[in-house]
Structures are given as structure tokens and as C-alpha cells.
Amino acid sequence: MNNIQQFQYDNKITRAFGMASFIWGMVGMLVGIIIALQLVYPVLNYGPWFTFGRLRPLHTNAVVFAFVGNGIFMGIYYSLQRLLKARMWSDKLSWIHFWGWQAVILCAAYTLPMGMTTSAEYGELIWPIDVLITLVWVIFGVNMFGTILTRRESHLYVAIWFYIATWVTVAVLHIVRSIEIPVSFTESYPLFTGVQDALVQWWYGHNAVAFFLTTPYLGMMYYFLPKAANRPVYSYKLSIIHFWALIFIYIWAGPHHLLYTSLPDWVQSLGTVFSIMLIAPSWGGMLNGLLTLRGAWDRVASDPVLKFMVVAVIAYGMATFEGPMLSIKSVNAISHFTDWTIAHVHVGALGWNGFLTFGVLYWLWPRMYRTTLYSTQLANVHFWIGTLGIIFYAVPLYWAGWTQALMWKEFTPEGTLAWGNFLDTVIQIMPMYMIRIVGGTLFFIGAVVGVYNLYKTAKQGQFMPNENAEAPARERHIPVVVGDHWHRRIEGRPMQMLLFSTIMIAIGGIVQIVPMVFIDSQVPKISTVKPYTPLELAGRDLYIKEGCVGCHSQQIRPFRDETERYGEYSKSGEYIYDRPFLWGSKRTGPDLWREGGKYPDSWHYNHMWDPTAMSPGSIMPAYPHLLEEPLDLRDLPAKIRALRKLGTPYPEGFEKIAINDANIQAQKIALSLAEQGVKDKGIESKEIVAIIAYLQRLGTDIKVQKKQ
């Protein structure tokens, strides 16, 4: 024991991330309550910055990247040091990581309400922020791997495997999703188009859930749950199997977000098969967590930390049962585009992520402040209000999802849609939306109680910024091989040899295949499908800016009720000029893919001015600013150039006449508006004409025109 080394754990960085997680969590939840209120009381949409379309991504980003993100770093920075018996590799990097991540969040909080978005779910942030995220993530990685390399404990506990997988996979996902061509400082077009963009998006989106919301939290479960219960995990062997099985299966499940869409069938089936397989490792892990408490269930009754963790693990089990079920095509036919999906993600976010974060915070705070929890009773209050909040959130939305799906699909005996007016199916679920507000508010109140409790705990204790520790130096067994060629070592290991060559081949394959994407796409081309005109393009970018995709899908699935309600089902070839794709994942309002030509221009004008004027009872926000804001076309030439570079067949030199072309089309729309009674002066130079141009174009390229 003479090589004992003394060192200190860094608690300050853990505390900083913990506080950030809680504070941003409150902000994210509050925005969630606001947008839930907006769905019931549309008057609360305060345009242009605080409409549902712009605030929804703010809510999701705040919860995923600010609340859970900081929670991840809190858990990792605490447990990694202790598991490896080492201080974080560099204090400086720890703090650059901390402030860099908060800077990302602040940028998001500014850009999203301003309407700067890529529209990709969970990847909405514009390209300069994407670059910043990449830098911060690399710094985090250097710090983490630096700590792993300088560790004193040679064995890597299973939690660390989960952390490593998180870092590696999120890095790859983020980079692939963010490949885009900038047009200006705030705008860009993705490399991929239409169906391909959709596939990349949900490969990313699903794995963001898998590797940002799940694997790091599983690592935390495997550390903090045994610590809080003071007993070893039920089966360490099972935890190892859990990890490796999860890692190899998770990455293939993404296409289950695109069932029954224009995505090729075999890719959909691939996603379904792997999604169903996922239940095995997920439930293995869930049971491993719960069984850790065998013989200690009496303590769950008295210890709020364990209560939070138990509900978190149960919520994980529920969400990971539901996930595979929703990936079955016949279930997905009902659930997709409804509030069922929203209920599903909130069981995960409120239950699994939220409650595990609270449990860890309640465990960490007294430890770092060298005291006891200020009030166990208040923690219990938080627990019960929070649990009720989850129930009052999820149950009404399951109900709403089923109700709406059944109404969408109901036919009369005569063979017509029983609820032909989409609005009827929205008004029907308003009571559920109201109860959901109650649920969300309860959860938020619980969190407020939690903040107070932790604040008081900190007040009564004394913070220990650096914690003394000691451990023997790590023993190293480095085999010394003299006169050995490096390749001999690989040759002796056929498996590794095979793998190395596979990876090399894969890299080669990518180099060959990437250019092909630009040259030709195997998506069947339809000769009548043409690129958007400059004005339509400007309108499309406004559609993205306002976040319309948050409530309106642009993907008609091949079901009788959908073709009856919306028109001909979507074909993959129709989307080849859609950058980014705008299929959406939720129908709070109707699908818009065949919107073109359904209504006169003046209908859209009046509808944007006040949706209830055209559809009484509509919950869509009013967009009067679209009628007043001047249409900014200055970026059009750059946009045309960028899109041509990406493969949209705009003729050479078209960018020079693009603005002129847009103005001519705007004049035409102004003229038709005037004919229909809308005689605003200067309307041709307002944003509304671009939106109308885009909406009137939607899905018309293959529309069968009725003869008059």
C-alpha cells in the first residue's frame, strides 16, 4: 500500500451542472405549460415570436438538451470520477464544457422564438449552433477520455460503457444530421432531399432518444440506484449483456418513425424488426434495476430518493414496452400523427428522465453539502405531486390519441367519412387537452417544491468543493515485445483482422457512394414534378420559420380514410425537391400535402389573418404579421445557387432573374386576391403572398385536374 496516491474529486462542476439542469428544466417545463395552454386558448399565441409553432421546438430543446443534457453531465462528472478513482482530467476543460453548453442553450433560446430553425425535430438549431455543439462535445469527449486514460482503477464499471457509447454515437449522429449547405448565417439547406432527408432525420431523431435520453441515464441508473439503495446491482452480468445488446440493436430502429410513408417497405420492416427486438435488452435492464431493490423494498417506502428512482425505472419499462408496440405497423396505423405519441414521449421524459434526475439531485445535494436533506416530507410531496402530474398528463393524451384516430378513420354506412370536417376531431379532444395542462402544471409545482428543498439543504450545509480521496496507482501490464512487426499482432487475431478490413471497406464504400447521391437518386422520378418557383421557395422557408410542421403533416398514408380526406396518397418521387422534408410527425391540424388548389387565395389570406373567421373553433394561431411584414427576397439568389449545387435543376443563371420571377408571381397572386375582394395596398410585397404561393403549389404536381 505504499503507492497510495492522494487526490481530490471536483464537486463544483457536478453542482454547476446539477443547478443548470434544474433551472433549465423549470424553464422547459414552463414553456411546455404555455404551449399546452395555447392549444386550448389560441388567443395566448403572441405573434410573431411566441406562437405554438416557434415555442414547441423551444420546449423540446430545453427539456432534451438543457434539462436532460445538463443532468447527464451532472451524473457523469460525479460518478466517473469516483468509478475511476481520479479527478476529471482537466478542470479547465470541465468549465469550458459547462459554459459552452450553457451558451448553446442560450443561443437556442434566442434563435428558436426568432424563427431561425432547420425544422428537423430535435435538430432544429441552425448551423452555427451546430458547429458550437460539435466543439463543446469534442471538449467533453477529450475530458472524459482523458480521465479514463489517467484512471487509477483499471476495471471499467458498466456505467462507464454507457457513457462512452453516448459520446461516440451522439457525435456521429449529430455530424451526419448536420451536413448542410449554408445560404446565410442563419439559413441552410440539408444535403439530402425528400425521402432520404426523412430517413436521415429519423435515424438521427430516434437515436437522439436512444443515446441522449436513454444510454447516459441507464449508466446513471447503474451507479446511483445501487448507491442510493446501498446494495449491489441485482446482476452485474445482466448489466453487461444489457449494454452490449442495447448498443447493437438500438441504431437500426429509426425507420419505425416512417411506417406507411413513402419510405421503401423493406426499410420500414427493418426498423420494425429491430424495434421489437429492443424489448429484450430494455426490459432486462429495467428488471435489473428493480431487482436491485430485492429485500430493500421497505426502504423505498421511507426514502424519497429510492421512490423517485423506482418510478423512473418503471416509466422506462413502460416506455420501452410501448416503443416496440408502436413500431408494429398495424398499431402505428392508429397511433401515428396522434397524441398517443406525445403521451409516449412524456412517460419517458417526465417519468424516466425527470424522476431519475430528481432522485439523483436529492441524493447528491446532501452529500456535496455534507448535511442531510432539508425535508423528507417536502421531497415526498414533490414525489406524489410529480407522480400525479405524470398520470394526469399521460392518461388524457392516450385517450385523446385513440379518440382522434378512431374519429379520423370512421366511415358512415354510406361510405363517406363520418367526421369529414377535421376540426370536429380537434374539438372533441379539447377536454383531454385541458386535463393535460393540469398534469403538466402539477409536475411543474412538484419541481418548484424540489428547488426549494434543495436550496434549503444547501443553506443548512457546507459545500465541499473538493473531496479528498486516495487510491493506489493503477497497475499497468504492458507486454514488451522486442523486434515484433506491428502487423504480426493483428495477424494473430483473425477476428480483429476481419473487422479492421470491414471498417476500411465501409469507409471506401462511403467515399464511393456519397457522390452518387448528388448525381442520381433512385427515388422514382415523376416527370411532372418540378422544382419550386422562387416565390414558392420563399414561402416554403416562411412555412419552416413559423414552425407549421409542428402541427401539419405533409405525408398522406395509403389508407382509405386518408385518401378520402386529403386526396391521393403521397409518392416518394413527389418530394425530390423538398429540402428539408416537411412530413411532420403530428396532426394537430390536417395534413397539407394536397392543399394546393383546395381553397381560393382569399381563403388563405383570411385564414392567416384569423383562422376562426374561416373555421369557427379552430385552435390555429392567427398570423396577422404575415400580412404586414415585407417579403424579404434578398437571399433568393444565394438559395437558388445552393439548391442547384445540391442537385435541384434550376437552369444556369436562373438566380439572376429569380427575384424578378418572384415579383411577377407575387403580382399575379395580388391580382387574384383583388378579384376575390382583398384589396390591401402593397399586398404583393408582403410575406402572405409567398405563403399562399407555396400552399397553393403543395401536392399539385401530380394532382388529377377535374375537367370543367
Binding site: H155, T169, S239, N468, A506, I513
Partner: protein
Amino acid sequence: MQIIFILILISLMIGCGFLLAYLSAARAGQFDDDYTPSIRILFDDKTIEEQQNDEA
């Protein structure tokens, strides 16, 4: 739809990377002991000095 092949290749590469990590970790003996690590993490809070104080 070449994007599918790119994504499959990237996914396979990630998978292969983890498989390599698994093999080398297994070779290094990371998974030889499938019981004591679960106990060990529970005993890492105190320095020797503190433990001696407790015993005294």
C-alpha cells in the same frame, strides 16, 4: 435511396467499432469478474484516514 446504404454503413461502422471495443475489453479481462465490481462501487466514499477515524 442510396442514403440507406450510407446509413447502414455508418451504423455498421459504429457497430463494428463497439464490437472491437468489446473484444479488446474482454481480452483485457474487463468482464472476467462479473460480481465484485457491483460491490466495489459501494465502498468508494471514504479515505483511509476517515475509515480509521470511524474504527477508532
